[in-house]
Symmetry: C2
Subunit: 393 residues, 2 copies
C-alpha cells in the first residue's frame, strides 16, 4: 500500500435541471468574464448553449463564445482560445460539452496563465504553475475530465497526442444532468461506457500497493457501468441508467479508484493515444480495440488481479486454474464489448494499419512514455509493437 | 433517484509520515496565525503535538494552542476557543486529534466568523454564513469529520447534544497517517469501526431514491471495514488494516455513500445523541447498543434494502423469505459487534436507564428532530421510546 494524495475539489451538481444553476455557480466561484467553450453543433441544435447564454445574460455575466472543439481536440484551437481570452480579459472558462470541450478549455486555461508555449506542458518540457478557473456543463459521460486533473491535446503537426495533468485544472464545478446525454447516438454512448470502465481498469491492473477498499469500490463501479451499458444499448432514454453511467464517469477518473496503489498501468491509454493521433478514432472505441490484445500480452505478469477481476467484476466462476480464470475474464470483457457494439481489434475499429504504421505508433508511444511504462507488465517499444500487431484482427 | 450535490474539497494526504507536511499545507491554504486545537493528553504524550509545533516553528508560522476537547465536545470549550481566536487574531484552525477535536474546532470556526451565539446554529435558530479555514491531523478513524460538513457539540446546561452541517466547515486539508492510530485501545478502535459503518448504514437504509453505484460503493466499503475491524481485534498494529479503516472512515461520511438517495435515515444517530448527551458514552458504542433494536423495529418497512444488505454485506444466504433473510442480516451485525467487543444493548453499554430516563431521551430526541424523522421508517416520539425500551437488554 502506497501513500497517496486525494484531492477532488470540484463541486458537483447532479440531476435534472441542474444546468439552470450555471450562472449562480460561475458567480460563486468569482467568474466575471467568461469564455464559453464548446464542440460541434449539437449543443447549439439542442438549445443548451442558448439556455446557458440566456442564464448568463440574466445574471449580468459577460461572456464570449468559442466553438469547434473536436474529439482529440486540436492545439490550433487551443491557441485561438488563449488569444481570445487574453484579448477579452476572460477570467473564467465554461466548457459546455464532453471531454473534448473540457480538455480543450483546460489547455486554454493553462495557456492564459502560464508564460510561453502551452504545448511545452504536453511535451514534458515544463510544469504549469496555475490555470484559469473552469466550470463544466457536461453533455457526454466518458472522459471524467469534469472532475479529473488531466487533459489530452493533439498537435496537428506530426499528429502527436499528449496528456498533461495537474490539480490546477480540476474544474471548480461540474453540472451533471443525465438528461443532457439522452440523445447521444448508441455508438458514442458505448464509447463513453468503455472509456469510463477503462479509467478504473487502468488503475486496477497493477502490481503495486493495492488497497482492499479501493478494489471493492472499483469493482462495484465496474459492475454498475457494465450492467447499465447493456441497458442503454436497448433503452437509450433510460434516465436511471444514464445517471448511473454519468456519475460512474466522474468517479472513475477523479482518483477514487486508484487510492493506495502505484498509480496504475495506463498502457492501453498510451497505446490508444497513438491510434487516436494517427487515425482520429473515437477514444473509447480505440481503447476497446486495443485492450484485449494488451490483456493477453500482460495477464500472466499480473495474474492475481486478472483472476480477481474475472470473478468479482465479470462474474466468471473460478475454474481452479488462475490462468484459465483470468483468460475467461478477458474473454468476458471482449464479449461485453461486442454486445455494446464496440470493436475488439483494429480491423473492427476500421483501421487498416500497415506494418510501418504499427512501427511508427510503437516508436511514438515508447517516446511518449519515456522509453518504457506499465505496472501490470513493463512494456518497451518491442512489446508495444507486438500488442499493436496482435490487435490487427 | 434524487438530484444531489457532491462537494468534498478537502485535500487528503494519506500514509506514513504525512504529518510532516502540516506546516506546508497550512501555508498553502493561507494560514498565518493558527489555533492548534486538541483533546486529551495522548497527542502530548505521543509527541505528535510537539512534532507539529516544531514544524510550525521551523516554517515561521505563529500559533496558539488549546487542549481539552473531550468526547461529545463541550460548548464551554468552544466559547473559550472563540475568545482565544478573537484575542489572538487567529486566521486558521488546526485540529490535532479525532472527531472531538475536529468538531470542537469547527464550532470555534463558526463562532469566530459569525455574529451572535454559536449555539444558535446547533439549536436550529440560524444558519452559518462562513467558517474559519480548518486543517486536520487525524489520530482516530471514526467520525469522518476530517472530510465531512458536520459537527456535533454538547451543551452542558441540560446535556443537549446537537449537530450542525454546512460546507463552510469542510476541512481544507486532512492528514491521515494510519500509524498515528496504532496505539489506540481496542475499545476505541472498535468504537471507530462501528461509527464508520454506521455513517454508511444510515445512508443505506432508506426508502427513497437509491442509486446502484452508490449501493455498490457502500456495500464494498462496509465489507472492507467489517473484515479489517476483525483483523484489528487480534492484530491492532496491522498497518494495512489500520489504513483500510482510516480511509473508509473519511469516505463513509464525506457524502460519497449517499449520492442519489433521500439523504438517509439517521435515526440511530439521533437516538444515540440523546444517550451521549445524558450518559457521556462513547459514540460508536452507543450506536452499536441502539442499532439492533432500531433495525428490528423498522426492517419490515424497508425490507428490500435490509435483504440486500444481509446478502451483499453480511454474506447471509438468501433463505427464500425476505423477512427471514433480513433478520439474519441484523443478527449477523449483532454477532459482528459482539466479536469486536461492542455492546448490543444499553445494559452491555453500562447504562442503567429508568423508564423516566427513556421517556426523557425520547422526548428530547423527538424535539431535536422536529417531531418525527426517519427514511427506513418514520419515527415519532412513541416509536423512539419503544426502541429505547427494546434496547435495554
Amino acid at each position: 500500500m502506497f501513500n497517496f494524495k486525494y484531492y477532488t475539489p470540484t463541486k458537483v451538481l447532479f440531476g435534472k435541471g441542474t444546468e439552470l444553476k450555471t450562472a449562480e455557480l460561475i458567480k460563486e466561484f468569482g467568474g466575471k468574464k467568461v469564455l464559453i467553450h464548446y464542440g460541434g453543433g449539437s449543443v447549439v441544435r439542442s438549445g443548451l448553449l442558448k439556455k446557458v447564454t440566456d442564464l448568463l445574460d440574466e445574471a449580468g455575466i459577460s461572456y464570449v463564445t468559442l466553438g469547434g472543439a473536436v474529439p482529440n481536440p486540436h492545439l490550433s484551437l487551443v491557441y485561438e482560445g488563449i488569444e481570445l481570452c487574453k484579448k477579452e480579459n476572460v477570467d473564467f472558462l465554461l466548457a459546455v460539452g464532453g471531454g473534448s470541450a473540457i480538455d480543450s478549455a483546460k489547455a486554454i486555461g493553462y495557456g492564459v496563465t502560464n508564460e510561453g508555449d502551452v504545448w511545452d506542458l504536453y511535451d514534458y518540457k515544463k510544469k504549469a504553475e496555475s490555470c484559469l478557473p473552469l466550470g463544466v456543463v457536461l453533455t457526454l459521460a466518458a472522459t471524467g475530465s469534469e472532475m479529473s486533473d488531466s487533459s489530452v491535446i493533439t498537435k496537428e503537426d506530426g499528429l502527436v497526442k499528449r496528456g498533461y495533468s495537474s490539480d490546477y485544472c480540476r474544474p471548480r464545478f461540474a453540472i451533471l444532468n443525465p438528461e443532457l446525454t439522452m440523445t447521444l447516438p448508441n455508438y458514442q454512448t458505448a464509447c463513453g461506457c468503455t472509456d469510463i470502465m477503462m479509467h478504473t481498469m487502468e488503475r486496477y491492473f497493477t502490481n503495486g500497493g493495492n488497497m482492499e477498499i479501493t478494489d471493492s469500490l472499483a469493482e462495484g463501479l465496474l459492475r454498475t457501468v457494465k450492467e447499465n451499458a447493456l441497458i442503454l444499448v436497448k433503452d437509450p432514454k433510460n434516465y436511471d441508467a444514464r445517471a448511473e453511467v454519468m456519475w460512474a464517469g466522474s468517479l472513475s477518473h477523479n482518483g477514487l479508484t486508484g487510492c493506495g496503489n502505484d498509480g496504475g498501468d495506463w498502457m492501453t491509454h498510451k497505446l490508444e493515444h497513438e491510434l487516436g493521433g494517427l487515425y482520429d478514432v473515437a477514444h473509447g472505441a480505440g481503447l476497446a480495440a486495443i485492450w484485449g490484445s494488451w490483456a493477453r500480452y500482460v495477464y500472466k505478469d499480473c495474474l492475481p488481479r486478472f483472476k480477481k477481476f474475472a470473478i468479482n467484476v465479470m462474474g466468471v466462476a473460478d475454474t481452479g486454474s488462475d490462468e484459465e480464470t483470468a483468460l475467461k475474464g478477458i474473454e468476458a470483457v471482449e464479449a461485453f464489448y461486442r454486445e455494446i457494439k464496440m470493436p475488439t481489434n483494429l480491423k473492427e475499429l476500421g483501421v487498416n494499419a500497415t506494418e510501418d504504421d504499427l512501427k511508427e505508433m510503437a516508436r511514438k508511444c515508447a517516446l511518449g512514455v519515456g522509453g518504457a511504462m506499465g505496472s501490470a507488465k513493463l512494456l518497451h517499444e518491442e512489446d508495444m509493437l507486438a500488442i499493436y500487431r496482435a490487435s490487427l484482427g
